[in-house]
């Protein structure tokens, strides 16, 4: 027979209820996980069936081409249409957004109005301008899928794993880094999967960045130097740093969305910023703190302003003349490990380190006078916050 304490425990504990917004978010995530799992398993089934069909072709079944075979038996390269639910973020994408992706530790999450991907294994991911397609590294291939229906637009065999990819702003080319036997190459391929060629033979596994006019590409050499390859002149030059700037490897490079300014992250919370064709790049610290620190995260807002984060500091910086000035600096509730800017350049998305999770949030752009980061929306949390997530928002 239950004691009075046990009866009270039953009554009180069973009265504990979750908040309803949490419930909606969790339901969307759970349903997405179920559909994602089903989609993957159906896709695997299709691959097995395709392999069987391929074997039939090899043994002399007289059908002209494998494409015809697949059509005859009802198998296409296109995986089943994905869910209409956006899994990341769970709530609808902000107006004007075509897609939002988080990639880290070989796992991809994607939300778009028509295609959703949750926790899919890939070696790299990149959204096209306008979020029409997504390029992913899958095994020894660079694969481009349409966001409209999830179908595979094309797949290009590579010599190793694709570890980074960057779509040119004009959308006609993809630069990608492929890693094989301990070395990484920078290559380029047309947006339709043709004309693959080598750009540089020994680079770092850092995502390259296209200049706004798509005529130059910044990347990091295997030694950590920032290099810029000009496709018009077909020349490559190393970016010079001003005297007094710290040495050390670059871990991120990014051209501004307009103009010719380039920024790069280097050690101890420093950034290199400037026009690489004109003069040596200036360096600036993201926070006032001195001492050992990791490279900051950076994302451009406009042709002359950028946002950067270091630990829990998020700063808005502006290029003025030959220098860089901090125009706003705010504190996030915890360490920032991923950062990007919204397509309309009015908000930022961040990954905040909390416990063993990375919490994705959207915040307003820091403005002068702000002290704390203004979070306007929580997206969801992801595992393994130390994975070095990349956020892509188109």
């Amino acid at each position: 027979m239950s004691s009075e304490l046990e009866q009270r425990l039953e009554r009180v504990l069973r009265g504990i209820e979750p908040a309803s917004p949490t419930t909606e978010q969790a339901k969307a995530a759970a349903l997405a996980a179920r559909e994602g799992s089903g989609l993957r398993s159906r896709y695997r089934l299709a691959l097995v069936a395709a392999a069987l069909v391929g074997a039939l072709v090899m043994t002399g079944v007289t059908l002209a081409a494998s494409r015809t075979v697949r059509e005859v038996v009802g198998i296409t390269d296109t995986p089943p249409r994905a869910t209409h639910h956006s899994r990341l973020p769970h709530s609808p994408l902000p107006p004007g957004s075509g897609g939002f992706a988080a990639f880290g530790n070989g796992r991809l999450w994607l939300a778009s109005p028509s295609l959703a991907i949750a926790d899919e294994p890939h070696s790299a991911a990149e959204l096209s301008p306008g979020a029409l397609n997504i390029a992913v590294g899958s095994g020894h291939a660079l694969v481009v899928r349409r966001l409209s229906d999830g179908g595979v637009a094309w797949s290009h065999h590579t010599t190793g794993h694709v570890v980074a990819a960057a779509w040119a702003p004009i959308g006609t080319e993809i630069a990608y880094v492929v890693q094989s036997r301990g070395t990484a190459q920078l290559r380029m391929i047309e947006g339709d999967g043709d004309h693959d060629r080598l750009v540089a033979g020994s680079v770092s596994a850092v995502t390259p960045s296209w200049r706004a006019d798509s005529l130059a590409l910044a990347y990091v050499s295997s030694g950590g130097r920032v290099l810029v390859h000009n496709f018009f002149s077909q020349k490559t030059h190393a970016v010079a740093r001003r005297q007094g700037c710290p040495a050390g490897r670059a871990t991120q490079v990014a051209f501004a969305p307009r103009g010719t300014l380039l920024a790069a992250s280097i050690v101890d919370g420093n950034l290199l910023v400037g026009d690489p064709n004109r003069r040596p790049m200036a360096c600036t610290g993201v926070s006032a703190a001195k001492g050992p620190a990791p490279p900051p995260r950076l994302a451009w807002i406009s042709g002359r302003t950028l946002v950067a984060s270091l630990f829990d500091t998020v700063a808005r910086l502006e290029v003025r003349g030959q220098g860089v000035a901090s125009v706003a600096s705010v504190k996030a509730p915890s360490g920032v490990t991923a950062l990007t800017v919204s397509p309309d350049r009015r908000q930022i998305a961040l990954g905040l380190w909390r416990g063993d999770r990375l919490r994705l949030v959207v915040a307003t752009m820091p403005v002068s006078g702000d002290r704390d980061l203004r979070i306007v929306r929580a997206l969801r949390s992801l595992p393994d916050p130390a994975a070095g997530y990349t956020l892509i928002w188109r």
């Binding site: 504990l13 979750p18 339901k27 759970a30 349903l31 994602g36 799992s37 089903g38 416990g355």
Partner: protein, 180 residues
Amino acid sequence: MAMGVPTDADLVRRARAGSREAAGDLFERHWPGAWRAARVVTGSRAMADDVAQDAFERAFAALGRFDEQRPFGAWLHRIVVNRSLDLLRRERRLVGLDSPDRIESEWRDLEAEDRALLLAVESLAPQRRVVIVLRYGLGYAPAEIADMIGVPVGTVHSRLARALEDLRGSEREEADVERT
């Protein structure tokens, strides 16, 4: 003819066959309990949000491998408990549990006596919180709990007895404080 309420096994079968509605019903049926278990074991709303959501994502992603003959709820709650304890082990060093002030504010609508009881549950050792919430928050029998968390049924009984004793001790202390 009135339709009966579908069992968990029915819903699991339909969800596996691709029914979004059945998966949604399964979620609605089990989310409150899963969240409640995570909330009590982790001692934090935010962690409960993460753990319960993560448990559902894992469970639904693995639905194809789930043995329909087994109870879905017990399987899910086992995931919740394991994930909660894992998270607690790691997170405890970094952030600790919700502060008493925050808990007070979360449960400010409860009677003082009930709030004190929840605070006392929060202060139990994690393994004791587990058996308390599974027994009284979710209504599992000790044998089911033993099966769920992989310990002998005698261990469940002894953990429950010690947890209840701790809670009674807390209530006595509360009463003493009020008298002084």
